[in-house]
């Protein structure tokens, strides 16, 4: 629990059973993934995929925040606290 890997949605289509499916690209490897749980997703978006299902759409703005925070921390560190190596 729970291997979820981010990949980029390259195609979206409805299959014969009316289920939204898509092709997701993981660094060049493509796999068919069920997109039924991420109805808001568009081609070019990134999704987290677990056992062949997209369980969320990656929020790219939030993803960047981790690094903004680290940058802030870095700046603070330079200002007052000596960084132990």
């Amino acid at each position: 629990m729970c291997l979820g890997v981010p990949g980029r949605v390259t195609t979206i289509e409805e299959n014969a059973l009316g289920m939204t499916m898509g092709t997701v690209d993981f660094g060049g490897i493509r796999k068919e993934v069920c997109l039924a749980y991420v109805p808001e997703v568009k081609v070019g978006d990134f999704v987290i995929v677990h056992v062949g299902f997209a369980i969320s759409r990656v929020d790219e703005a939030e993803a960047a925040k981790v690094f903004d925070l680290l940058r802030e921390m870095g700046e603070l560190a330079e200002l007052d606290i000596p960084q132990p190596e």
């Binding site: 629990m1 729970c2 291997l3 890997v5 990949g7 092709t23 690209d25 993981f26 660094g27 060049g28 490897i29 493509r30 796999k31 068919e32 995929v49 677990h50 056992v51």
Partner: protein, 354 residues
Amino acid sequence: MSPTAADFEHATCPIPIADYPHVLLAHGGGGRLSQMLVERMFGAAFSNPALDERHDGAVLDLPQGRVALTTDAFVISPLFFPGGDIGSLAVHGTVNDLAMCGARPAALTAAFVIEEGLPMDDLWRIVRSMAAAARGAGVPIVAGDTKVVDRGKGDGVFITTTGVGVVPAGVHVSPRLARPGDRVLLSGAIAQHGVAILSVREGLRFETEVRTDSAALNGMVAAMLDVGGDRVHVLRDPTRGGVSSALNEIAQAARVGIHIDESAIAIAEPVRGACEILGLDPLYVANEGKCIAIVAPEAANAVLAAMRAHPAGAEAAIVGGVREGPAGKVFMRSRIGGERVVDMLSGEQLPRIC
């Protein structure tokens, strides 16, 4: 007059498919049908002076030197996969085993155990592929055997290859010879073969083709040994069990510690992607066209250059080194700067969901 490569590139099956669309028990029985298979298919495709004698065994004129001998059984399923098949795999695998002993391969034999019912065209495809692989490596297939077993008692076809070669004077390779201070070289990107096989197995299919890296390494190894001589201490091809198994075996045999750097190990993006989604560790995934070399430090750069000059070693790199200890263990510096033990795999690595 021996047929050339061009004769077989697009040749149709020499056994009349209309009459024999599938391999029958009689094709292994030693009678007329057997002979047809040997003459028209194997004999014609593999043709070379030793084989053409049609003796019970091949008589060879080998150069002076220590003789290297190796054998391997190939039972892979599916028989055909992106970039290769059981035939080319068999030839490359045995040629490489000889090369890893420091030998120049001289000849191969091939024994086929065919399951009754195998489509004749599949057999022809495999034979053609073996012939091409053997020609590409410059190593003739000089003897062989064919048996056919009842339907259900085989997996299409099993192939056993044996190879003989000669180790030139001044070459001494053995896993026991790794010593502290040596550099660990790796000839290119890992995990390609294992992912290629998984990609055609039911239930794990990808929409992208990942081709096996199966290739003959004898040319590259000859160049490495020309440059490095006896300063090339160990040669090993990381097949089943991946780079991890190969390095662990060497560490144990030589009673040294091997330390590698994750960021120095090449891996193709799609192969990495496949390992990520299946939860596989690329260090444990099979390779069929890669070579690990453990080389004395003063010769490492020259051997590396020799590898890079060869198509099979274009992405070769120094990935680590040998230390006194901890003896028998392999360590890897991870990308984030931490250290982890790279242990022997137990059993087969299974794709995981967690």
